[in-house]
């Protein structure tokens, strides 16, 4: 299917929201396609949670428009609320209730019939791997388990869109991986996911498209490749030779026909790593250059973010 024919699930246009003198969200626009995992990446205070609150209808924008599956959230907030599930940043559960009682409560708010709700709870608990602990009180759960129930509580009304606001904050790597698996399964089932985080590796793993946010603005958006182009961050290979003379270096430069930065026995070659690396190694071997070490410098999101905003993501 042509990408232009894919249905837009979320369309945000010229959205702004201020709190007193702080512009939390400043004239931003983006759209998200059905079945997409869209990442909102930015440091704390960038405006990610405000966007989630605006899209989930609990905050009113000062300016701009949000369409959820073509429904204006200002006019059809009840319809929109049925379409979306929200996984809040805080673990918003009742500690004194069991997992199943929490899920029954949260599911009942969406008027899911009791029989269907019971079956859904069973399926979701199995999906998140906590069916065996369903009757335990939430206060006896580990942080990672609570996070999984926090996700489950947003799925009980079968939402088409899932907003996940930093769903892995404070969890161990094992639980984080489990959460990633859950998200991937949900996405395979066709749920559109908006994922906010300040962890680049999460976005890199999960999101097809990314919006990079800073100080209430979207500084760039697109796939990782598109972001790389926008930021002018190049991939590079750093090769350290055991010994290389100036003559050999000139020969290598003419053979590769690319710019080489040299420092002592090291050279840094800006290139498309996936496409050019094998050719570079082959030429080095033919020139009898003995390679001591090869390092790949990928154009990752950290470098892209630094290039676009001039600051580290965790600032």
């Amino acid at each position: 299917m042509n990408r232009y024919n894919i249905k837009q699930m979320i369309q945000v246009s010229n959205l702004s929201k201020s709190f007193d003198t702080i512009h939390a969200v400043n004239n931003i626009s983006f759209s998200i396609r059905k079945g997409e995992v869209f990442g909102l990446l930015g440091p704390n205070g960038a405006g990610k949670s405000t966007i989630i609150n605006l899209m989930s209808t609990i905050l009113k924008s000062d300016e701009g428009e949000i369409l959820i599956n073509e429904n204006d959230i200002k006019q059809n907030s009840t319809i929109c609320k049925q379409l979306i599930g929200v996984v809040p940043q805080e673990i918003s559960l009742y500690d004194e209730f069991s997992a199943v009682d929490n899920l029954i409560f949260w599911g009942s708010l969406y008027k899911v019939p009791a029989k269907i709700l019971k079956q859904r709870i069973k399926n979701i608990l199995k999906l998140i791997g906590l069916y065996d602990r369903k009757d335990d009180l939430i206060k006896t759960y580990s942080g990672g388990m609570k996070r999984r129930i926090n996700i489950a509580a947003a799925l009980l009304h079968n939402p088409e869109i899932l907003f996940m606001d930093e769903p892995t904050v404070g969890v161990d790597p094992q639980s984080r991986n489990k959460i990633f698996e859950i998200i991937e399964t949900l996405n395979q089932q066709g749920i559109t996911i908006v994922y906010t985080t300040h962890y680049m590796e999460e976005v890199e793993r999960l999101c097809k498209r990314i919006a990079i946010m800073d100080a209430g603005k979207i500084v760039a958006q697109g796939t990782q490749t598109e972001l790389q182009k926008q930021s002018n961050v190049k991939e590079a290979v750093q090769i350290t030779f055991q010994l290389i003379s100036e003559v050999q270096l000139e020969q290598l430069q003419s053979q590769l026909q690319i710019k080489i930065n040299q420092s002592e026995q090291k050279i840094i070659i800006e290139c498309d790593v996936n496409k050019d690396l094998s050719n570079i190694i082959s030429i080095c071997n033919k020139s009898n250059l003995r390679i001591k070490d090869i390092k790949l410098k990928k154009a990752n999101l950290e470098a892209i973010f630094l290039s676009l905003t001039g600051k580290q993501l965790r600032d």
């Binding site: 709190f19 609150n53 989930s56 609990i58 905050l59 009840t78 609320k81 049925q82 979306i84 929200v86 809040p88 940043q89 805080e90 673990i91 918003s92 559960l93 009742y94 949260w106 708010l109 969406y110 008027k111 509580a153």
Partner: protein
């Protein structure tokens, strides 16, 4: 380390200005309130409001009018002339402390030196006011009709036992007795013949006054505290994030507030029921004597109190604020409304202020059921006021909830 923690906690405390204000304002207000309640304002020179005494003059003679005039001149009393039946009803309903009835033959009895045909019908629920009233009445009656009555009595005695005693000698004896005033006063008081009748007859009052005061007063005050605590759960939800999650769902803000109010109302009803059942089992409070009125009164009180509790929660923005606010407001309402100190002990000005309190209407309603044995129709206005208080508090809570809780949640 300790100093760092100390500084941090003080900084946090003083950052919540409303909380700080309440923390310091509360004891000041309570001290002022109790000083008023116990009459300690103004260096002990504060004057009590005059007691409103109903009076029915059935004799309509010069002597009865003279007695009424002398009573009217007293600053401790305000006399209100009324027909006997109407006056008795007013006292029965607790509107006035008592009615003084000067019966037919009052003047003749004075002239004949007989016991005076007069009666004071009073509300036993206002025991302390009654004590003051009785003392004022005796002094006044004695000075106006007491001596005249005794002289008449002695005259009759002399005429019967010492016929032919010259008038000059009689006068001499009377003058000598005047000189020994104390003895004459005692004699006069013993002969006044003022009949004292409690308007709530033993057969109709269905509870012990002290017990009713203790049960109704304490129940309403404790209910206010527990409802404020239940409502405080809303602030806990805000802090834990579950409130925000509730707003993500299709619920309306008022659904959440009314849900909380419903829970608070049910718990309030349960708490009152438990308290009254306990009082029945342990103290023998006859709760089944007028069961319908009791049930309706419990419902009205629970509604007013639960709405008031939610109102407190709607104003407060933090747990600290709620704690300070609920303590100050509940203790104030309980003090002026008669939960802590029976109303009749308080100065008249405090009794007037009491009507602004939920406690007052609740306690008076339970008095009407257990002490005054009023029919339901007569208690309905008090229930109506409680329901009206509940409705007003609910309305204000809805407005404040939308403004405060939602705004805070978004920030």
């Amino acid at each position: 380390m300790i100093l760092t923690i100390f500084k941090k906690d003080l900084k946090l405390f003083f950052a919540d200005r409303k909380g700080v204000l309440l923390t310091f304002l509360m004891p000041i207000l309570l001290i002022t309130l109790f000083a008023f309640a116990f009459g300690g304002i103004g260096g002990g020179s504060s004057k009590a409001e005059p007691i409103k005494l109903l009076v029915s003059d059935l004799d309509n003679s010069s002597d009865s009018k003279s007695v009424i005039a002398s009573l009217q001149a007293l600053r401790e009393l305000t006399l209100i002339p009324k027909e006997v039946i109407e006056a008795t009803n007013l006292v029965h309903k607790g509107k006035n402390v008592g009615v003084l009835i000067l019966k037919k033959g009052f003047q003749d009895s004075i002239s004949a030196g007989n016991n005076l045909p007069m009666e004071l019908k009073y509300d036993a629920a206002r025991e302390i006011e009654m004590g003051m009233l009785q003392s004022v009445l005796m002094q006044s009656l004695m000075s106006t009709v007491g001596q005249k009555s005794i002289k008449a009595k002695m005259n009759t005695y002399f005429d019967t036992n010492f016929s032919g005693m010259p008038q000059e000698m009689k006068e001499k004896i009377f003058n000598n007795m005047d000189a020994i005033k104390g003895g004459m006063n005692t004699s006069a008081e013993n002969n006044m013949g003022l009949k004292m009748t409690s308007i709530v007859k033993e057969s109709t009052k269905i509870g012990n006054l002290g017990l009713i005061q203790a049960v109704a007063g304490t129940a309403i005050m404790m209910l206010l505290f527990s409802i404020a605590a239940i409502g405080g759960g809303l602030l806990d939800e805000k802090e834990s994030g579950t409130l925000k999650r509730l707003f993500y769902s299709p619920l309306k803000p008022t659904d959440i507030l009314f849900g909380k109010m419903g829970a608070a109302l049910v718990l309030a009803i349960l708490q009152l029921v438990v308290m009254f059942v306990f009082s029945w089992l342990v103290f023998g409070l006859p709760i089944f004597k007028d069961f319908t009125s009791l049930v309706l009164m419990i419902l009205a009180t629970a509604f007013a109190v639960s709405s008031f509790g939610i109102f407190l929660v709607a104003i407060a923005k933090t747990r600290q604020q709620l704690q300070g606010l609920s303590t100050i407001v509940i203790l104030t309402m309980s003090a002026i409304g008669g939960s802590m100190i029976p109303l009749f002990v308080m100065p008249a000005i405090m009794q007037k202020i009491a009507v602004v309190s939920v406690n007052y209407w609740g306690i008076q309603g339970f008095y009407d059921i257990f002490w005054r044995s009023l029919p339901l129709i007569e208690i309905l206005p008090k229930m109506g006021i409680l329901v009206a208080i509940g409705l007003v508090m609910t309305l204000i809570s809805v407005l404040l909830f939308k403004r405060n809780v939602l705004k805070l949640m978004h920030n």
